[in-house]
């Protein structure tokens, strides 16, 4: 069942086209990542769904209802702001209770709901593990039981270590609550890790939408291929052995597409027809892997090797063979 539908939405700020004929659908209960570089229009889309911006044209549906003319408060949404936008002069309780107070709920009802949420974020029994401001903002957005939770760069202000933990927590909590959620991020790792599906925006347009792994394996546009996962751009991939018969074309090469061996016999699956010689231009220790930059036919390529079995020593020679090409072609 479709929870959110955005149909042919356009939005311009002055000369800046923030949304260019944007259309997509989101199924109920899904956690969706709106991913794109800054200025790609992802936050504008989120704000238009929330009703904080008005589209110039197009329609937005939430739960089958056209919401274009509804104010934010009547759309059944919860919004988590990037800066959290907590009400500075109110206590934590008053912050979380605000949505219920506005709805004129009874004191008893408000108290029990706030306690429920305080427990959810671990505020009640001193079990809170995540930053207070984020926790309170999260609880506040959830208090009136929204159908749809919108999160604008929720982890932008949090340091890397905690952010890693928060990703798992967010995914688990959203699925537990069973609500639909859209979160905006410019961090591809975050989107791929947290989201059930991602929608990639660029220059106000939707480039591609789908399950992270599918997008990774089959990017539809050069932008997506470059934006998701690591990659190296190759001006013409037909210069490499095994690809001579194709039309000359630009290619995007991911590091894991390369197999690297000091000699052809050492490669996991020796494939002499697609193996080239290259020169190592640099090796970089990156924690769990070693990045190896190799020049092949004047083209600098990037490969990765697992740490272990003496990698650095093995590849300190300046000749190695690469093979088993599979290239992303656009």
């Amino acid at each position: 069942m479709v929870e959110v539908e955005v149909r042919n939405v356009n939005k311009t700020f002055g000369n800046f086209k923030a949304s260019d004929n944007v259309s997509f659908e989101i199924e109920r209960g899904k956690l969706i990542g709106l991913l794109g570089p800054s200025g790609s229009g992802k936050t504008t889309i989120l704000r238009m769904i929330a009703g904080l911006e008005t589209p110039d044209s197009g329609e937005i549906y939430i739960g089958g209802r056209k919401v274009n003319d509804l104010p934010p408060g009547e759309r059944g949404i919860g919004f988590l702001f990037q800066s959290y936008a907590l009400f500075k002069h109110m206590t934590v309780f008053e912050n979380i209770a605000f949505g219920l107070t506005v709805q004129k709920k009874s004191d008893a009802e408000i108290k029990s709901r706030v306690e429920e949420l305080a427990e959810l974020i671990g505020l009640k029994n001193f079990t809170r593990r995540y930053p207070l401001q984020l926790s309170v903002a999260f609880a506040r957005a959830l208090a009136p039981n929204p159908e749809l939770l919108l999160l604008d760069e929720p982890f932008a202000a949090i340091d890397a270590k905690v952010r890693q933990e928060l990703r798992g927590w967010l995914k688990k909590t959203i699925h537990q609550l069973g609500i639909t959620a859209i979160f905006v991020t410019h961090d591809q790792d975050e989107a791929v890790e947290v989201a059930d599906e991602i929608i990639i925006t660029n220059r106000g347009r939707i480039e591609q939408a789908g399950v992270p792994i599918e997008i990774y394996q089959a990017p539809k546009t050069p932008f997506v291929a470059k934006f998701i996962g690591e990659s190296v751009q190759v001006a013409d991939y037909t210069i490499f052995k095994g690809f001579e018969d194709y039309e000359p074309h630009e290619g995007i090469l991911r590091p894991e597409f390369l197999e690297i061996g000091a000699t052809i016999e050492e490669m996991p699956q020796p494939m002499p027809v697609t193996t080239e010689k290259g020169i190592i231009r640099g090796t970089y220790f990156r924690g769990s892997v070693i990045q190896i930059d190799i020049e092949v036919k004047g083209q600098l390529l990037r490969g990765l090797q697992g740490v272990g079995d003496n990698m650095t020593k093995k590849y300190s020679s300046d000749v190695l063979i690469i093979g088993d090409w599979s290239i992303c072609v656009n």
């Binding site: 934010p72 919004f79 907590l86 002069h89 934590v92 605000f98 949505g99 809170r128 930053p131 401001q133």
Partner: protein
């Protein structure tokens, strides 16, 4: 780098001397002149029929100007900071106009608009409304001159606070009035207080614009500053200084209030929900 001691002393002496001559001495002189003919004369000058009338009119004009400008100031600052629209910069400059224009010109402007030469004059006459050379004119002139004070105090504070708290409240379905009274107003209350104080100080002391529109009718359209001028021109120096001392005292009161507001405002406006908030947690647990 450390300055030699003589340089320090010289600079301090110059500053202190300047302050003494320009600020402290005039205050002492006002007090001395006011009491030159004894305490009895001082109070007689203050309780003089025309002096009291002038005081009441000044208070009336100040209160009305502050009330109206609080409304205008809140409305214009809200408009300028929470919305985007065409001509926003122009509106901002327009609000600053009273700062740029000489108060005398503002007074003449009201004479042209509502006086005998105005096309509006016959209509005003018909409904028996007197604006120029009457109390409404004085209030209008005071409102005009003090118009930018509150807006200018509010705009930077509201701008730095952004719109996200208001937007957050809107996502919960809070009405415009709820958003204003529960979210915006508590965040700007100190800036508003400061603006009101500045506005009152300026309104009490306004001379130029009011002088033009008042017509100097004793007991009717004279405010305190105008009354002082009349006494002075009549060579009644002691009475003039006695009345002036009232304005000085009001000014000192405003200064004290200003400091109080600044002191508390600093503490409160930078307060946020801080990270170690054990007491807040307990607050939640106990509901």
């Amino acid at each position: 780098m450390r300055e030699p001691i003589w340089l320090k002393m010289a600079l301090i002496t110059i500053s202190a001397g300047f302050l003494f001559v320009m600020l402290v001495m005039p205050l002492i002189l006002v007090a001395k002149e006011a009491l030159a003919r004894g305490v009895e004369f001082y109070f007689k000058a203050l309780t003089d029929e025309f002096a009291l009338k002038a005081l009441y009119l000044t208070i009336e004009a100040t209160i009305l100007a502050v009330l109206l400008n609080t409304l205008f100031g809140l409305a214009s600052a809200w408009l300028l900071t929470k919305f985007d629209f065409r001509g926003k910069t122009f509106l901002g400059s327009l609000i600053d106009l009273p700062f740029a224009i000489s108060p005398v010109v503002a007074g003449l402007f009201f004479i042209m608009l509502f006086g005998r030469m105005s096309p509006l004059y016959p209509i005003l006459q018909e409904y028996d409304v007197a604006i120029v050379f009457a109390v409404p004119g004085i209030i209008l002139a005071t409102v005009f001159v003090t118009f930018p004070f509150i807006t200018r105090e509010l705009v930077p504070v509201m701008e730095s606070q952004g719109r996200s708290e208001e937007e957050a409240a809107a996502t919960f379905g809070a009405s415009g009035w709820t958003i204003f009274s529960k979210i915006t107003l508590p965040n700007i209350k100190w800036a508003l207080g400061y603006g009101i104080i500045l506005c009152s100080a300026r309104a009490m002391g306004e001379f130029g614009a009011v002088s033009v529109v008042s017509g100097h009718i004793r007991g009717k359209t004279n405010t305190l500053p105008l009354h002082i001028e009349i006494l002075y021109n009549e060579y009644n120096f002691t009475a003039a200084f006695a009345v002036a001392s009232v304005l000085v005292m009001l000014a000192i009161l405003v200064l004290i209030l200003r400091n109080v507001v600044e002191h508390y405002g600093k503490d409160v406006e930078h307060e946020e929900i801080a990270e170690p908030a054990a007491d807040l947690k307990v607050g939640v647990a106990n509901g």
